[in-house]
Amino acid sequence: MGVEGIGARVARKEDKRFLTGKGRYTDDMSVPGMKYAIFVRSPYAHAKIRSIDAAAAKAMPGVIGVLDGKQLLADGIGNLICGWMIHSKDGSPMKMGAWRPLAHETVRYVGDAVAIVVADSVAEAKDAAEAVVVDYEELPVVTDATKALEQGQPQLHPEAPNNLIFDWQIGDPAATDKAIAAAAHVTEITIHNNRLSPNPMEPRATLGIYDGGDDHYTCYTTSQNPHVARLVMSAFYNVAPENKLRVIAPDVGGGFGSKIYIYPEEIVCLWASKRTGVPVKWTSDRTEAFLTDAHGRDHLSKVKMAFDANNRIIGLKVDTVANLGAYMSLFSSAVPTYLYATLLSGQYDIPAIHANVRTVYTNTAPVDAYRGAGRPEATYLLERTMETAARELGVSPAELRRINFIRTFPHQTPVIMNYDAGDYDASLDAAMKAADWNGFAARKAEAAGRGMKRGIGMSCYIEACGIAPSAAVGSLGAGVGLWESAEVRVNAVGTIEVLTGSHSHGQGHETTFAQLVADRFGVPIDSVNIVHGDTDKVQMGMGTYGSRSGAVGMSAVVKALDKVEAKAKKIAAHLMEADESDIVIENGELKVAGTDKTVPWFQMALAAYTAHNLPPGMEPGLKEGAFYDPANFTFPAGCYICEVEVDPETGVTKIIQFVAADDFGNIINPMIVEGQVHGGLAQGIGQALLENVHYDPENGQLLTASYMDYAMPRADDLPSFKVSTSNTPCPNNPLGIKGCGEAGAIGSPPALINAITDAIGNNRLTMPATPQKVWAAAHAAN
């Protein structure tokens, strides 16, 4: 490994601009004539729109235009869609209700957009938005998914009787029931996975620019996947044909899934730009973000786990109700199905699994993928169940896991996944050692002397990422392929541009992708630029989510580098009159192995472009592209241990230590990987301890619509983390990478809750474990 190659802790190339205030986020963009948009939003969770009167608003100072959903419909702008088809177990397709970018008949959650106001300033647009008179007829509301399935509840979409979107299953119900019937012990538990707001620090924003001269649109937007945005806005929403629509996602301030989706605002601002003749910029405020950014999770599951007399798991039965909110967001159907139930085998050899999932409409914001997407739900369910079982069976939590670990690979689970590599004992050993598990009893006794209740908990997670083999996900209903593209352009002076369909919104691609090139050719990373996020510059790509940039995006770069290397070697061999099989590339030079003949990298590149002396028949230039479609998912796994101290007087949980031992396969930049783990842990701990989206069940008002009521993890809520990695390289991609972006958020919640329930001696605890809940649970146990 070179100092800037694979495995090096290289400081990030992109940092300087962020540290000096030169980052360029969507809200920083300004173009001549630009005006500002504010959306008129429904204050009701469910209502019919009788009429919209914008006359007074249009007469307000600075107002350019006020547009509503009827005009949008008249202009042929289409419905928002969910791009992953799921069929119910009776064979019927999922029931997708109409989601209009601007509602003109019915609003279905607080924040549903009904009109856009464009004005000279944000303040004037806000003034005018208040003057838009919308006459609503209020309808009854339901926010809870289980309740929404009952008879006689408010109905959200005529397409979906009883609000049921689909009733889906996976696995073998008969074999599972048989295992449960024959079990020596069955652990039963109800698991609630709380609803979260992703909260990237940069609120969503978009700038729509229509150029009447070329009938061309440009959309700056806070997106994790600008090409997908262009595709769906073109193919489904009829905004413009792809060749007339450029989507640019510049610096993006975090996403965590919430910026995968195409929201009404992008569509409406582009359309409004054409309608009003001015560029239109909209920037979400934080309350709008809470109201309208896709939420995450919100599951209620009943679990039965069956054990034989040797404490081996023989069956797992899961019945889940998942709340998808008022409309089906872009990938919402995949999250509680193929991203969730396919992981229910965890790290364990379970012969029979059956999961049934019902998804439901409610009068709440749409729910879609949020960091981990389905896999945190599976992990939380499994790892709380395992801990509960260990306590019931009187076995140590580590022992119960070891008894059931998968140890031979590849391993086919009963729920589609084929695990390719892993060493779960290694992670468990590493985590227990780092946490000084064996010293816990003494620490607990010491804490008890101070009146504090100490607890320890673990979680052994597995996830499937590097999504995903296109044909496989296509057969499961995905509307897109999940390959990735890359193009490597060697300039005539030898500097290099890598164009990638992956998108960095904090992950550090400008550094890690450059490290691949530095590693391959021995050129400095400063001579390598990463280009991404602009559909006019970069070939079609699928973007960044599901920890796929390393395993899929970088694999595409590797394929393109292979082609560049092959051609470079041919050119060098020709220049040095050697056989191309004898050429090696080291330290920025092409050498004939075993001789002192060399051609500097830049000279080879120049030769490619002067084309004065190339091998016969070779095209000039040095630029290669590749599309990489993964052969399988990747399977990062690990063990997390959390130790807490609960103050029985107040119920406050203090995290004493948090240990993460992960297997991510090969690692490009350990510094960045550690950072990803830290961030994931904070989000997982936030879910377990602090965060909760709370709707008033009576009227559907969002009660946690700002940081005054939605508890974000702050620095003093968290400890410094103890992280380490082990490595079983992924056999299915050229770099042996598994992915690291989501693990922290997947593995941490059950470790923390298991620690708290251990401390207080009461297993009846739901997330978030607020001081009040922990206090009440601790007292109920006493």
């Binding site: 620090m201 842990l681 620095a715």
Partner: protein
């Protein structure tokens, strides 16, 4: 509309704005200094932190008019002669940032924190002092590390100079 004059990053600047204009919008829109961000509506996230007369303040909860006549430093004014400020350098060296959106506020907060505490900072103090700054990417681990490293560096430099 009123004319507001203040010193920003060492330069006297003026601009016309409504009395209701927030300092952050004056900085971003009138002055084009977009490094100072807005991340919430309730004065909690700290992405908007600048220094006013040498002290950290939230520019999203301050009117431009309140700041008239004051001396403002934004993230753009921190690096001198193209050299990163020691706090900026420490954030880079310790991977104290990911998406970069909270970073200007974090850096301005850290500079103020180190000014008040000098080399006396410890981890618990840094975490407590970060109460007004939210980061969603880093889990704070490397931000805390960056600030402690910068404090040591700056505290050490000050001792050496004395």
């Amino acid at each position: 509309m009123a004319k507001i004059t203040m010193t920003v990053n060492g330069r006297q600047v003026s601009g016309q704005c409504d009395d209701r204009t927030l300092l952050v919008h004056f900085i971003r829109e009138n002055l084009g200094l977009t490094g100072t961000h807005v991340g919430c509506d309730t004065s909690q996230c700290g992405t908007c932190v600048v220094h006013m007369d040498g002290k950290s303040v939230k520019s999203c909860s301050t009117l431009a008019a309140q700041a008239a006549g004051s001396d403002i430093t934004t993230i753009e004014g921190l690096a001198a002669n193209g050299e990163l400020h020691p706090v900026q350098a420490a954030f880079k060296a310790n991977h104290g940032l990911q998406c970069g959106f909270c970073t200007p506020g974090m850096v301005m907060t850290a500079v103020d924190m180190i000014r008040r505490h000098g080399g006396q900072l410890d981890e618990a103090t840094v975490r407590a002092e970060l109460e007004g700054n939210i980061c969603r990417c880093t889990g704070y681990h490397n931000i805390v590390k960056s600030i402690l490293a910068a404090a040591a560096e700056m505290g050490g430099a000050r001792v050496a100079a004395e």
